[in-house]
């Protein structure tokens, strides 16, 4: 084996090594990015769920009635005010079966 051939082999091995490290590095970066995207997806899902429920609260019959009263839209019977909630708290707490 000549010195030149030995150097060539050494060079090729270095190149292959560098390429492998590069590939490994890119693969790690990609995997890391996927992991970060997963984390982001979880955060976004949380936000979506939270917004969905916020929307559900706003779409709730009581919320709509309250807003209609606040905006004086004159489409809600007089009883449907915040007093409803107060009345709910005043009902007697004892409750039993319909048939004693």
């Amino acid at each position: 084996m000549t010195v030149a051939r030995a150097l060539l082999i050494l060079f090729l091995m270095v190149v292959v090594g560098v390429v492998m490290v590069g590939v490994r590095s890119e693969s790690a970066k990609a995997a890391n990015r996927i992991q970060k995207l997963h984390e982001r997806k979880v955060v976004l899902k949380q936000k979506l769920w939270s917004k969905e429920l916020e929307l559900a609260q706003l779409r709730g019959p009581e919320a709509i009635r309250r807003r209609a009263v606040e905006m004086q839209l004159d489409v809600v019977p007089p009883a449907a005010t915040d007093q409803d909630k107060a009345k709910k708290k005043n009902v007697p707490p004892n409750t039993g079966p319909l048939n004693d």
Partner: protein
């Protein structure tokens, strides 16, 4: 010499290399699996992916129960450097007294993971992270939320903190709502920070299916509001109401009062959690009379317009004396129902006899479960025929000696509204996956055959039950734009274990529907133990609430108004027959 020295160096290097390689081979062969395991334990961890619990939505897709994520604080007491300092810091962030947090930290004992406080704010979460106390951390956990608060609470139920349904539909539909856990395999760096996903290390969670109900949140909320008003006004113990679509059996509202807020279910007792419409039977009283009257017509035991001597309000039959709220001389068959004469019904019962009475109770589905898709349904109480006696002959026609659930009674009235068919009530409409595809459709098949002649049913509805609302004190249930049919009841409450009735304790009820020509809704309102001094007749207590519920629901559903029925009823030609009562008169029940 120089050459020899060089060869010695090379030989030494080679020996060292061979020794190293040998050591490597030894380690690989001998300790390899153990070391690989150790490395994997340090670098790779499997993290469960918690699925989102499915939504419970009403028939228009409005969310009644949903899941969000909340931040909670945990502690690992084993590594906590200074409990006092941690308690002080945490108390400062959570804005509470350190004495409130300290015992919690100490209570953690030997546990490695102990939740100190659930549902903290985002800002508090960031401050805890910034405090950087080893052993104290914040994590996210699913949190079941009921955005409409108490709407449909007894029906929907609630889940325990671990996310498992423990009451109502949350419990019943847990298999659909729960979903399946996923898992991700994470490679971590030296500081245990998630670095990347391992190859093939991601199995997504399957979110829970959504459950679609037949309930309409708007109607449900209004029904609950009316019940609360009624319970409050009459200082009653409790009330239930049901709104049903009589043609299909779909339940649009099913409510209890007082209700509870499932977001804070621990603040209420177990009695609040019960869905009384299906679990609590009661004696129906006069609301039961139309079923027996229909049976009497079907058996030709009575004729329309036939006159009954109502004995001026007191009639002794064997060992038993029946009384009417008002003394009547003669009433036509129709008037017996319109004026709710117990004596008239007793006489009709005697014509039918116990066997036929029992048969028609069963015909309308009493004494057996309705088959509604809700857990805990009671079958009511209809004693076996062998245990009936001569008292039963006159008691059953008045709605005594048997108990029905509100749902059984509402379903019975659906038969008056749909031409005599016994529908199967249902609340679960469908189950959908997270993408909105229907997984299961629970709409039950419609009944084909009526259990009793449609002509008799029409007669009962159009000629009698409409007149009950038009003429008698039940006109509290009258609506300006719709013809309402129905019947009131004021039933005494039987003592536990028998032996008579509880004094001054009643279940005041109204069951009916509208529009009479083509009924779209049947509504039942039953109010338990209203205060007698304020009012206790079904016509006074329950009928107005039922009317408001009907009025709201019919308008909301866009049911076109209809002119009121004009046809006069058959009369006994009795010159002493009572004229229609004014609204403030004593009602008949």
């Amino acid at each position: 010499m120089k050459n020899l020295a060089g060869q010695s160096v090379i030989a030494t290097v080679l020996i060292v290399l061979v020794a190293l390689m040998g050591r490597l081979v030894y380690i690989n062969a001998h300790d390899g699996p153990r070391l690989i395991g150790l490395a994997e334990r340090q670098q790779i961890s499997e993290v469960p992916i918690i699925p989102r619990r499915g939504l419970i939505v009403d028939c228009r897709g409005r969310i009644i129960a949903g899941t969000t994520l909340r931040k909670s604080v945990f502690v690992d007491p084993g590594v906590l450097p200074d409990t006092q300092l941690a308690a002080k810091t945490l108390a400062d962030i959570l804005d509470v007294d350190p004495s409130e947090v300290g015992p919690d930290l100490l209570a953690a004992g030997e546990k490695r993971f102990f939740v100190i406080r659930r549902g903290i704010t985002e800002e508090q979460s960031q401050r805890i992270a910034a405090a950087n106390i080893y052993g104290l951390g914040v994590f996210s956990e699913p949190c079941r939320t009921y955005p409409m608060n108490d709407v449909g609470a007894a029906l929907v139920g609630f889940v325990a903190p671990d996310g498992v349904g423990v009451s109502g539909l949350e419990y019943q539909c847990d298999k659909w709502l729960a979903g399946q856990n996923g898992v991700k395999t994470i490679v971590r760096d030296a500081r245990r920070k998630a670095f990347w996903l391992a190859d093939g290390g991601y199995r997504p969670a399957r979110d829970g299916f959504h459950v679609v109900l037949t309930i309409d949140a708007e109607i449900q909320a209004n029904v609950e509001r009316e019940l609360i008003e009624t319970v409050s006004k009459y200082k009653a113990e409790s009330a239930v109401a049901i709104v049903m679509h009589p043609q299909t059996g779909a339940i649009l509202a099913m409510a209890n009062a007082p209700g509870f807020d499932p977001n804070h279910y621990r603040d209420y007792g177990a009695a609040y959690y019960r869905n009384k419409s299906v679990t609590d039977p009661y004696e129906p009283g006069s609301t039961f009379k139309p079923f027996i009257a229909s049976g009497a017509l079907a058996e030709k035991a009575v004729r329309r317009g036939e006159v009954f001597d109502c004995e001026r309000g007191s009639w002794t039959d064997g060992a038993r004396t029946l009384r009417d709220h008002h003394p009547y001389d003669f009433l036509s068959f129709e008037e017996v129902l319109i004026k709710s004469s117990n004596i008239g019904m007793g006489k009709i019962g005697k014509r039918l006899g116990n066997e036929k009475l029992f048969e028609y109770c069963r015909t309308f589905g009493f004494g057996e479960k309705t088959g509604v898709d809700l857990i805990g349904e009671d079958a009511g109480i209809l004693r076996p025929l062998a245990r009936w006696n001569s008292f039963s002959t006159t008691s059953i026609p008045m709605g005594q000696e048997l108990c029905v659930t509100p749902l059984q009674l509402a379903r019975g009235y659906c038969a008056f509204a749909n031409g005599g068919k016994i529908v199967k009530p249902y609340v679960l409409r469908a189950v959908m996956d997270a993408g909105g595809e229907v997984v299961s459709d629970f709409t039950p098949p419609l009944p084909e055959e009526p259990v009793i002649s449609p002509e008799i049913i029409e007669t009962m509805k159009d000629k009698i039950l409409v007149e009950v609302v038009r003429q008698a004190a039940s006109q509290h249930a009258k609506l300006p734009n719709y013809t309402v049919f129905g019947k009131t009841g004021t039933a005494q409450i039987a003592k536990k274990g028998g032996g008579g009735y509880v004094p001054n304790a009643y279940v005041s009820s109204f069951v009916g529907g509208a529009p009479a020509k083509n009924p779209q809704l049947v509504v039942l309102v039953a109010v338990r133990k209203p205060q007698k001094s304020i009012g206790y007749y079904g016509a006074v207590v329950a009928a107005p609430a039922a009317a408001r519920i009907l009025s709201h629901a019919l308008a909301y559903l866009g049911v076109p108004p209809e002119p009121p029925a004009q046809e006069p009823i058959a009369s006994s030609n009795d010159p002493n027959a009572l004229p229609p009562l004014p609204l403030d008169a004593v009602p008949y029940d």
